[in-house]
Each structure stands twice: as structure tokens, then as C-alpha cells.
């Protein structure tokens, strides 16, 4: 099935020639349960794809596979042209990821220090880290809480900090797992604006969430995942799509 592309953006830019995300026939079982079945997904370079799915549908497992922290049992997945199993390090150099886990931050240090740590791990120099950290924290409206320990932040603030961390290396592929969790209306709009800006700059973005209505204005392709199977759907079908429907 052909994914539903809402519109063509960035005329003249090659889409999907090299880069982006390509998933072919990926399957994964965990603890005896089949999580993903024969998943196919193509997210051309410089586009936004969003996947909606209920809790336990397999969204997070798919993101984890693309982030190389879970390996697929069957099929293959390429991120930015690199195979997630045999070229994991190259994949990790291409991506920025925000897992749906606020405990992935270090809670007893502050936001700047979290960003500094991951910037240094990624090989950025101090000046670049400082400039990008300040810009991202400003863009995500976190400057006023950035010097306090992460444990004193609200869930929504931590959520935005995880997105800032994912963007720190200016990745060519951005993976966002439930990025709207805990966000208020302003937070959602801030994040949508950020996604729009990044995709205009050529970043490939995959967003997975239980409800994706908010992000539809910036989505190039929309999918629904049910019981580990990913299907392209139109915006009108989201939230009411059932696999047994024709």
C-alpha cells in the first residue's frame, strides 16, 4: 500500500534517494510474545511520518529497533542508509532519539549538564554544546528551569528536555516516541513548531504516539499500528481505524 503523503515539501529536493528510514519485513518477539509482524515502512529523507497506535501495539519496539537498542528477529531496517544490526554505530551517529522514558535523563544534575554530557559523548566541542543547548532550551521554553536539578522539573518539562537532547547533535534522522506525553497545549504547539522547522531543514522525523491528531498539520505520511502490524492510513481514518475494516 502506498503511504498517504499529505503534500510535497521542499520542491527540488531529492526525497528518499539516500537516507531516511526503510523498514522491510521486520518482525520481533519479546518474552514469547510477537510484538511486530512483517513491518514495512518507508520514511523518505526530509519528511515527517507519524504512527498512531494503542498502548502495547508495538510502537516503542519499532523505535527501539531503529535506535539499535533492540535487534529485529526478521527483516531489515536501514536508517540513513545504514543497517541497524550490522552498522549500529553509524546508525547511532545519524539519529537523535527521545524514548518515552523520562528516567532516561540524569535527575540529580541540571538540564545544561545533561545536554553537556550527551554532547560530549557525541563528540561536540564545548562551544557548540553551549550554543546549541542555549538555543534549544530557549526554543523549548526551558531556560527558566534549566539550572535546577532535572528532578525538580515537571513531567512536561522533562519531556521537552528529552527532545532538546535528541536534537543536540543536529541529527539527520529524529525518532520521537510519544513526544507529547505530559505536555500542555503550549508545549504541544512548541513541539509542533519545532518539528516543522526541523523538517524544513531536511531532517527525517518519525513520531509514534497513541494519538497523533495534534501533529497532523506537519505530517507527510500517517500510519496506524495494530497488534504489531503497520498500515498506511489517511488522516480521516486515524483514531477510528480497525484492521478488520475494509
Amino acid at each position: 500500500m502506498i503511504p498517504h503523503h499529505r503534500r510535497s515539501r521542499r520542491r527540488g529536493q531529492s526525497r528518499g534517494a539516500v537516507g531516511g528510514i526503510e523498514v522491510r519485513g521486520v518482525g520481533k518477539s519479546l518474552r514469547g510474545r510477537q510484538i511486530l509482524h512483517d513491518v514495512d515502512l518507508a520514511v523518505p529523507r526530509g519528511t515527517v511520518a507519524v504512527i498512531e497506535g494503542d498502548n502495547g501495539a508495538g510502537k516503542t519496539t519499532l523505535v527501539r529497533i531503529l535506535a539499535t537498542v533492540v535487534s529485529p528477529d526478521t527483516g531489515s531496517a536501514l536508517v540513513n542508509g545504514y543497517d541497524v544490526v550490522s552498522q549500529g554505530l553509524s546508525v547511532r551517529r545519524s539519529i537523535g532519539v527521545s524514548f518515552a522514558n523520562e528516567r532516561s535523563l540524569y535527575w540529580r544534575i541540571n538540564a545544561y549538564q545533561n545536554l553537556e554530557l550527551f554532547g560530549q559523548i557525541a563528540g561536540l566541542n564545548k562551544k557548540v554544546i553551549a550554543v546549541r543547548s542555549a538555543a534549544l532550551l530557549d526554543e523549548l521554553h526551558l531556560l527558566h528551569v534549566a539550572e535546577g536539578q532535572v528532578q525538580r522539573m515537571s513531567t512536561g518539562q522533562r519531556q521537552r528536555l528529552m527532545v532538546a537532547r535528541a536534537l543536540l547533535t543536529d541529527p539527520s534522522v529524529l525518532l520521537l516516541d510519544e513526544p507529547f506525553r505530559g505536555l500542555d497545549e503550549d508545549g504541544v504547539q512548541t513541539l509542533i513548531n519545532l518539528v516543522a522547522k526541523r523538517v524544513q531543514a531536511g531532517t527525517t522525523i518519525l513520531i509514534v504516539a497513541p494519538l497523533i491528531v495534534a501533529v497532523l498539520p506537519v505530517a507527510d505520511a500517517t500510519y496506524r499500528i495494530d497488534a504489531g502490524t503497520v498500515r498506511p492510513v489517511t488522516a480521516g481514518q486515524l483514531g477510528e481505524y480497525h484492521p478488520e475494516q475494509p
Binding site: A67, T68, V69, F99, R103, I109, Q113
Partner: protein, 266 residues
């Protein structure tokens, strides 16, 4: 070097976390010094064999053994403890998604603990001087070489411990158990000449035996430089073999956890 950059970055984070709790460093100094005071009194009772010259000879022997072991402990146990902490806190999976080789993560996990233990060891060493600790004609290059090579060897042990954490969620207990055995057979608290013959043979399989032998000769016994060569070569051999093997084991453990999907579980 990217490995040094990553090790320092993680050590800085661990330092910031440690000072947010404040009392850990001071209690480490007190605990280490108090343990050595006990051996100062024990040394008054030990006046046989190589310790028959003075009432502080055994004390000096144990200071070198225990402080050196306290430096190495974070390299070995600290790595698996940190890996386990990352696992339980929920940061392990994110760390695994970073653009670095997994062996660099393994090495970085023990860095702050190692630096802290070295600082504590120096402070405690100074505190033991008023109660009888002395060194004679310290061979500084040999001491430095022994410390560096031993840290590499025990970092490799730590990587294997971290690999166990990835696969079975336990590592520190197993490494601590192995270290307690190594400590006994390697002469931390008494000369290996006091061990039965078969245990003396076992002691020669332990890198700590060679490290302590060279270290005591270089600090307490006023030995010529040639007397350290064999011990240093054996220690270097352990380092050259164990570090790449441990890197391979840790990478395999990460891949096993990826296959099982357990990097985010504990």
C-alpha cells in the same frame, strides 16, 4: 581521543551527582582509615618471619595491600555497579543509543569511582604516616606502571561484570566474590609464602599477585629496578590479553540484551 573524552564526560557527570549527596567522600576516607587503624594494632601481634624486624612491618605491608586494593576495587566492582545503576535508573537504554563503542561506556562507568578512590587513598596514606607508615626509596616509575597496568587489568574484569549485568541483571555480587578470592590468594593481607603449596600455584594466576609484589618491592623493600621486570611484564601480558577480550564480551552482552529487548528492563 574519543575514549578519553567519553570517560571524562561520564566522570564529570558522576562527580556532579556525587557532590549533590555531599557525605560520600568523607565517609569513604573515614571508613578506609579506620580499617587501617585496626591493622596497626594487629601488627603489634605479628612479629614472625619477614615481619620480625619491627612492630610496624606488618602494618606497612597491609597499608600497601589494602590501599592498592581499594584503588582497584572501583575499576572492577564499580563498573558493574554503575551499569546496574544505569539499568535501574532507566538511563542504560539511552546510553546504549549513543554514538559510541560500548567498550567506551564500560570504561567510563568506573572512571569517577577510580578517581575518587585514588584521592581517598592518598589522603589515607598521609593519615597513616603519624601511626607508623613509612616508604623507603620509592621507585616512582615502577609504582606508576604498576598502577596503570593494574587499572587496565581490573577495568577488564569490570567490563565482564558489566556484561553480566546486561545479560543476567547481576554482576557486582559475582565480581565482588571473585575479588575476595583474588584478594586472599594474591597477598593483600599476608605474604603468599604463608599459603599452602597448591594455593601458591593458584596465586600465580592472579594479576594482583604480580602487582602487589612489584608495588611492595618498589615502596618498602628498596629493590633494584631489574627485580621488577618480570612482574611488570606479566602484568602487561594480563592487560594486553584481558582488555580486548573484555571489550568483545561486553559487546556480545549488549547484542544479547538487544536481541532479548532487555536493555530497558531490570
Amino acid at each position: 581521543m574519543s575514549v578519553l573524552r567519553i570517560v571524562l564526560a561520564v566522570a564529570k557527570k558522576d562527580f556532579r551527582t556525587a557532590i549533590s549527596y555531599r557525605v560520600g567522600f568523607v565517609s569513604g576516607v573515614i571508613a578506609s582509615f579506620w580499617g587501617l587503624i585496626a591493622f596497626r594494632f594487629v601488627s603489634k601481634l605479628v612479629n614472625t618471619g619477614q615481619f620480625s624486624d619491627s612492630t610496624v612491618a606488618y602494618f606497612r605491608f597491609t597499608v600497601v595491600g589494602l590501599l592498592f586494593a581499594s584503588i582497584l576495587e572501583p575499576s572492577a566492582i564499580g563498573t558493574s555497579s554503575s551499569a546496574r545503576n544505569e539499568q535501574v535508573q532507566g538511563t542504560l537504554e539511552y546510553m546504549a543509543s549513543q554514538p559510541v563503542r560500548r567498550i567506551y561506556l564500560g570504561l567510563s562507568w568506573s572512571a569517577y569511582g577510580l578517581l575518587q578512590s585514588m584521592v581517598i587513598a592518598v589522603i589515607v596514606l598521609l593519615l597513616t604516616i603519624p601511626i607508623g607508615f613509612r616508604v623507603t626509596n620509592v621507585n616512582v616509575p615502577v609504582v606508576a606502571a604498576v598502577i596503570v597496568l593494574s587499572i587496565v587489568v581490573f577495568a577488564a574484569v569490570g567490563n565482564v561484570g558489566a556484561a553480566l549485568v546486561m545479560v543476567i541483571q547481576q554482576g557486582s555480587v559475582i565480581v565482588a566474590g571473585a575479588l575476595s578470592i583474588i584478594g586472599v590468594v594474591s597477598g593483600t593481607l599476608f605474604p603468599i609464602s604463608e599459603l599452602p603449596g597448591w594455593l601458591q600455584a593458584v596465586s600465580h594466576l592472579s594479576p594482583l599477585t604480580y602487582a602487589l609484589e612489584a608495588l611492595r618491592s618498589a615502596t618498602l623493600a628498596n629493590q633494584p629496578p631489574t627485580s621488577f621486570v618480570t612482574d611488570l611484564l606479566v602484568l602487561a601480558g594480563f592487560a594486553v590479553v584481558l582488555l580486548p577480550v573484555s571489550a568483545w564480551v561486553l559487546e556480545r552482552a549488549f547484542r544479547t540484551a538487544q536481541r532479548r529487548g532487555t536493555l530497558s528492563t531490570f
